[in-house]
Amino acid sequence: MAAKRKPRYSIFSLARNSMSHHQGWEKAWRSPDPKPEYDVVIVGAGGHGLATAYYLAKNHGITNIAVVEKGWLGGGNTGRNTTIIRSNYLQDSSAALFELSRSLFETLSQELNYNIMFSPRGVLMLAQTEHEKRAWQRTHHATRLNNIYTEWADTKRVKEICPIINTDPGARFPVLGGLWQPRGGTARHDAVAWGYARAADDLGVDVIQNCEVLGIDREGGKVTGVQTTRGAIKCGKLGIVVAGNTTRLTDMAGFRMPLESVPLQALVSEPIKPCLDIVVMANTVHGYMSQSDKGELVIGGGTDGYNAYTQRGSFQHVEETVTALVETFPIISRLRMLRQWGGIVDITGDRSPIISKTPVDGVFVNCGWGTGGFKATCGSGHCFAATIAKGEPDAVAAPFSLDRFSEGRMIDESVAAAVAH
């Protein structure tokens, strides 16, 4: 346990520190050397890994934890995503998980004493074919029964919510309406990682960066520790939370996973004054867009058609996405792409995540979030912590176990969203 809790952040601490030209701030987290042994080692200091450690310490009283990270914390998909948060999912098990997460986002800044800038500005998913309209209406009914508030917005309402959308009935794919979740939105991705890291560190968790796991030690079908670039670390339980690298880690543990790793890209424009107050997703034409607080249009689209670990983009998807968005938002044509990048996402056969025990005793996996796991960071950490602590999945996590693939118990959301973010 850390001896001394960190001083809290507030406007007052900011004012006080400004007197000393901000020389007095403490570190947000320590840079500890690995101890020889921990009760739990979490591999991967992305949002999900850090949240898992935080909830293990906070909700389950397990504080002898290391989160080991091969690079810098938050540097995987957590720091690369387009930060859309929504819970208007069709299937009951998805709705439960994503709404748990979305609701935790509502109070996360206060919980972590770190402004993660959750901005429930609303998420609008456009319907541009009759078929898509029926699919969103079905989702709308499903969310109502799951107590998740959504509205069906007709074309006129779409224009009110978002004036820059092209609602010309003569458009190539005219806007027939949309599914509107007013409490969906965005958050600052880095801040989510940093906030969890700082809070976990405060509870005694060792967040160890530049520490890559190279091997997983087992004895008699049970995990005993990991080999890392900073030496061997023993552990009672191991949580693997490494997104696109999952199959590399599970190879080390000697079992295979139903996952594919593919690049997913995003891009931003140069910053401009506010013109888009919500998140818009247009699945028929394949693109989505929001505007960051800094003023950049944040844009994303589909995944590349091949497997790779490169964490960089190709141009084809940028072209497809931007073309779709110029058509949907004609005013953006003269704006410019500032930067594009990619992340490696781990995709399952039903595009739903895996939170599960594994064939190796003591090894747990949290993966398969694919293109849409940022929004689940809190919920995922919450129920993965419970799963690790109890050795069995909790009620929310249970449907997402690995055996669903051998049983065929798929949780398929692709029906509701061709671009699943």
Partner: protein, 998 residues
């Protein structure tokens, strides 16, 4: 309108014989052809051009190129409005009307500047530490305010009417950059016979050689060599030179983007921007270097500029940004600027050199010219008056606390050494190495980006590789070019030019100039001008644990402005290293991401906007439908007639007429959009047995079979009628939206799994028009046709070939309406003719056309499923009651094993049923769910008012539904509102199928 800062002579780029009138913030000014907006404003003595992002501090022009962080303006209005353009890249043209941005009400009196007074409260990352309470204030109060303050230029409000286009090119060597290195490389490559594209982002070739012409090349003055070389290249057939064209990105597999701003100069250009996609065997990045600024207290006041930029303005545009300039340098090159100013007759107040003992030819030359040189000295702080530089105070590096000397000046030219532009090398994975001696990142030759042949794909030439002097640049460029060429098996006959250049010693950089007195701690030593990131911010990030270079960047926003850190990154990383006690190599660098400079979204979309965005695929009858009242529905890339409207009747009226016409007389439907895939070869039967759940190998030639397709998970993904044309040839029909997907799916299996199968697949969807004729009077209609086919003799699920009214047809006797029905396939050129014939005959019998919605209702009356309506990727053939279509005999087919998994054989799975509302006039909403004890038990998949049955009907997937016929369930349609409906057989009409199989 005089131009006070225009020098009397010089300025190789401008044409003094012409004047151009332009506007900045509504005020008229004069410039010359060849000016940039930046050079013209400087010529006019305009110093203040913008306000910074966070503190709204007054800012001036810093650079002369694409690295400019400050001088961003708006151009145009309405449809031509464009924010955030760098003045240094705007070529002056008549009527140019630029306005400053990010200020209110105007540049001189911006009220946002209040911010700066309280700036102590806003260190890096302050927003993470505050605005936490009360919870809702972030959304409703803080965020909206922050958003309004942030952002740079205004968002456009109108659609853009300009034209953009894409073009494609192939070459052996793509050279990025038309400076001396690029030209030497181009010469070598062209003389080796390579196809060469040379892209230069500015409107001129020559790069820095136009400014720094103190070298001799091949015994000639640099300018003469330049002219000769350009002329020689222009004469080569295998060389394409594009100016105003930036090599923006180098992607995997030797795929590069060139962004050509051909129409950005005011005149009505046909094409505003052209985006080139180039596949090249090799890239030679001869992209030069960018000078680094120096951090000192208030180094951001308008008038503080890069030394190289000051020299550019003097030599290229005949402009001296200041009357009195102080040069602050850490290397020899800064002296060139002092000399240029001196030669132009302007005052060089002093040269402050951080080095203790500067020496070398350039230093000596300055000395000889009588310029004051102060070694071991820097600028401790700058001071502005009325938003421009008024004076600086020097600082002695050994005695920083001692009071410095005040020097009045209106310009500072600073030079902190150079950073090679290695972006293209890095875009697709090339690594950079920190060179401690040269104080710069250089490309790591051991870790280049590799192309499709696994060889190095990008080579870096000249100063982009870290070479400082012209002789080294030329020698290295020639060498790297021949290395690249030899990889391609080519050899150049070009001899590397011999160069005599002035020698220079390397830079001794200053990452932060110490400031005397108070400025020490509270100083504003700017690193990233646009984002207002200071030395203190980076140091704070390091102290707070944001130690990784990426953390520091993201926490402070260093390098995240629109210049993407071109000026700020290295200085910032050095500060991070200093604070953490790490070397530059240990600190590492952030990743360069494409594009090099921003590219317009318009250019990315190219022509694919409006009608050309995913162009509508049209059947042969498309115009006919339009002329007959078609109300369109987008289906895949097609549009299909949803219904045919008469006058202004409502949707239901048309649809019901069309339904009843099929039930009572005869209707015709354009079914051309159905996917049609030919599968041919000796292994075609075996292949289709794998692709479909049914047995296809047993199908007899001339017969049709309705088939279902699974994905690997055992769920339905498509359906359609398969026709065996002959032993080895099958015609597979798919859904309208599915043709391309299924074609790709077939190919994927053939190419990756069963590459040994002798099968060819061809998508012939657009080669045939297809017309359905359905209804009890169908045979009568067909009987009246001039045809050699005996239609009555064609059995249900049979096929006949022949001619109908002179058109070669295939006729399939298949039905998706439940009525007696034939589908005709004709080559697309006959489609309209046959359609018109059939339409006339149908009308004569009291029938006519029907659209997709009528088709949907008719099939729902019969309980036929539509893939995508009744199925959603979680539904099996058993779930929809089509176990009969799943072969039990076949050893294997896609999804067979998956279908045997425990969850797919559960008896209480959702199953397809019919629903009849208790109130026959109440139509259930699409997608509504059945509920029991507050839990969903399934959902409505299709729902209509059936004109045939004169009541509402619906299909639904309900948990264990097939065992529940006759039960009443509640369908929840809104909060607290439910509708009662009886579960029934999904076949509502003609359960025995007597009508289709007469």
């Amino acid at each position: 309108m005089t131009q006070p800062n225009r020098l009397d002579d010089g300025g190789v780029l401008i044409d003094r014989s012409h004047k151009i009138k332009f506007f900045f913030d509504g005020k008229p000014y004069n410039g010359h052809p060849g000016d940039t907006l930046a050079s013209a404003l400087l010529a006019n003595g305009v110093k203040l051009v913008n306000r910074s992002y966070k503190y709204h501090r007054p800012r001036g022009i810093v650079s002369s190129g694409p690295e400019e962080p400050n001088a961003l303006v708006n151009l145009g209005s309405d449809a031509t409005h464009e924010p955030n353009i760098r003045m240094t890249q705007i070529e002056l043209h008549d009527g140019l009307d630029a306005t400053s941005q990010n200020r209110f009400p105007n540049l001189d009196a911006d009220i946002g500047v209040l911010n700066a007074a309280a700036s102590r409260l806003y260190p890096a990352g302050f927003y993470y530490k505050t605005f936490i309470h009360p919870r809702h204030a972030w959304k409703y109060l803080f965020e909206p305010v922050i958003r309004r303050i942030a952002g740079l230029g205004k968002a456009p409000t109108h659609p853009d009417n300009s034209q953009y286009e894409h073009t494609y090119a192939f070459c052996d060597v793509l050279i990025a950059g038309g400076g001396v290195a690029g030209l030497v490389a181009a010469k070598a490559a062209s003389e080796a016979g390579a196809r060469v594209i040379l892209a230069e982002q500015t409107e001129r070739l020559g790069g820095r050689l136009l400014v720094d012409d103190d070298a001799e090349i091949d015994g000639k003055p640099a300018r003469v060599w330049l002219e000769e070389t350009i002329a020689a290249l222009e004469a080569m057939d295998n060389v394409t030179i594009r100016l105003r064209t930036c090599c923006s990105a180098a992607y995997d597999h030797n795929y590069c983007l060139l962004y050509e701003r051909s129409g950005d100069r005011g005149e009505a250009a046909q094409v505003r921007h052209r985006l080139w996609r180039v596949r090249t065997a090799r890239v030679i990045a001869a992209t030069g270097m960018i000078e680094r600024p120096i951090a000192f207290h208030y180094n951001d006041v308008p008038g503080v500029m890069l030394a190289s930029a000051v020299r550019d303005y003097v030599k290229l545009w005949g402009v001296s940004p200041g009357e009195k300039t102080v040069v602050y340098t850490t290397n020899d090159d800064g002296y060139r600027t002092a000399l240029a100013l001196h030669e132009a007759g302007r005052t060089v107040r002093a040269i402050l050199d951080s080095r203790k003992d500067p020496s070398g030819p350039l230093v000596e030359k300055a000395r000889a010219a009588g310029l004051e040189i102060r070694p071991n000295t820097g600028i401790g702080k700058a001071k502005a008056k009325r938003n421009k530089l008024e004076q600086i105070e020097t600082v002695n590096f050994d005695k920083p606390e001692a009071p410095g000397k005040t020097m009045y000046c209106d310009c500072v030219a600073m030079s902190n050494g150079w950073s090679p532009v290695i972006h293209l090398y890095s875009h697709s994975g090339g690594k950079a190495l920190w060179d401690e001696d040269a104080v710069m990142y250089r490309p790591d030759p051991a870790n280049p980006p590799r192309g499709k042949d696994a060889e190095a794909m990008v080579f870096v030439a000249g100063s982009a590789n870290g070479e400082l002097t012209t002789d080294a640049v030329v020698a290295q460029a020639a060498e790297i070019a021949s290395e690249a060429l030899s990889q391609l098996g080519m050899k150049t006959s070009a001899v590397a030019p011999s160069v005599t250049a002035v020698t220079e010693t390397t830079t001794v950089p200053v990452w932060c100039t110490p400031s005397p007195g108070k400025a020490g701690l509270g100083g504003k030593h700017f690193l990233d001008y646009q984002n207002d990131v200071t030395v203190a911010d980076v140091a704070l990030a390091a102290r707070e644990g944001y130690e990784s270079v990426e953390h520091a960047k993201r926490y402070t926003t260093l390098g995240m402005a629109t210049d993407q850190g071109k000026l700020s990154n290295i200085n910032g990383h050095a500060i991070l290293g200093k604070t953490l006690g790490k070397t530059m190599a240990e600190v590492g660098t952030t990743t360069f991401r494409p594009p090099f400079t921003p590219i317009s979204f318009g250019s990315i979309a190219g022509r694919e906007t409006g009608n050309l965005f995913k162009p509508v695929r049209q059947t042969a009858m498309h115009d006919w439908h339009a002329a007959h009242g078609a109300d369109w529905e987008p289906v895949g890339d097609w549009r299909r007639p949803y219904r045919y409207q008469r006058g202004d009747e409502d949707r239901d009226t048309s649809i019901h007429r069309e339904c009843l016409r099929v039930r009572n007389s005869v209707g015709i439907l354009d079914a051309s959009t159905l996917g049609k895939i030919i599968v041919k070869g000796p292994d075609a039967p075996k292949f289709l047995d794998m692709m479909y759940t049914n047995m296809m190998s047993s199908l007899k030639p001339g017969k049709c079979r309705y088939g279902l397709m699974n994905n690997e998970n055992g769920f339905l993904m498509d359906d359609g009628v398969v026709v065996r044309l002959d032993e080895e040839t099958f015609l597979c029909h798919t859904t309208s939206g599915g043709a391309d997907r299924i074609h790709a799916w077939f190919e994927e299996w053939l190419q990756t799994e069963w590459f040994d199968f002798k099968v060819y697949v061809a998508n012939v969807t657009e080669q045939y028009s297809q017309i359905a004729v359905a209804g009890p009077k169908g045979l009568e209609l067909l009987g009246s046709l001039d045809s050699d086919i005996d239609f009555a003799a064609v059995p249900f699920m049979g096929m006949a070939e022949g001619t109908v009214e002179g058109c070669p047809v295939r006729a399939f006797r298949i039905s998706f309406t439940g009525e007696l029905s034939y589908e005709f396939a004709v080559p697309v050129s006959f489609g309209l003719a046959l359609w018109e014939k059939l339409h006339a005959k149908a009308e004569a019998l009291g029938g006519g056309v029907y659209g997709t919605e009528a088709q949907h209702i008719l099939r729902a009356e019969k309980g036929f499923v539509v893939i995508g309506d009744e199925t959603d990727g979680t539904v099996t053939a058993h779930d929809v009651g089509m176990s009969w279509a799943v072969s039990k005999k076949k050893e294997d087919f896609i999804g067979k094993r998956a279908m045997e998994r425990s969850d797919l054989t559960r008896p209480d799975r959702k199953q397809l049923v019919g629903l009849l509302t208790e109130d026959p006039n109440e139509v259930l909403p699409d997608g509504a769910h059945g509920v029991e004890n507050g839990k969903a038990i399934g959902h409505v998949t299709s729902t209509y008012f059936s004109p045939t049955l004169k009541r509402s009907i619906a299909m639904a997937l309900i948990n264990g539904g097939r065992a529940r016929f006759g039960e009443v369930i509640q369908i929840s349609t809104a909060k607290k509102k439910t509708i009662r409906a009886v579960i029934c057989d999904p076949v509502f009409y003609d359960k025995k199928g007597e009508r289709q199989d007469v």
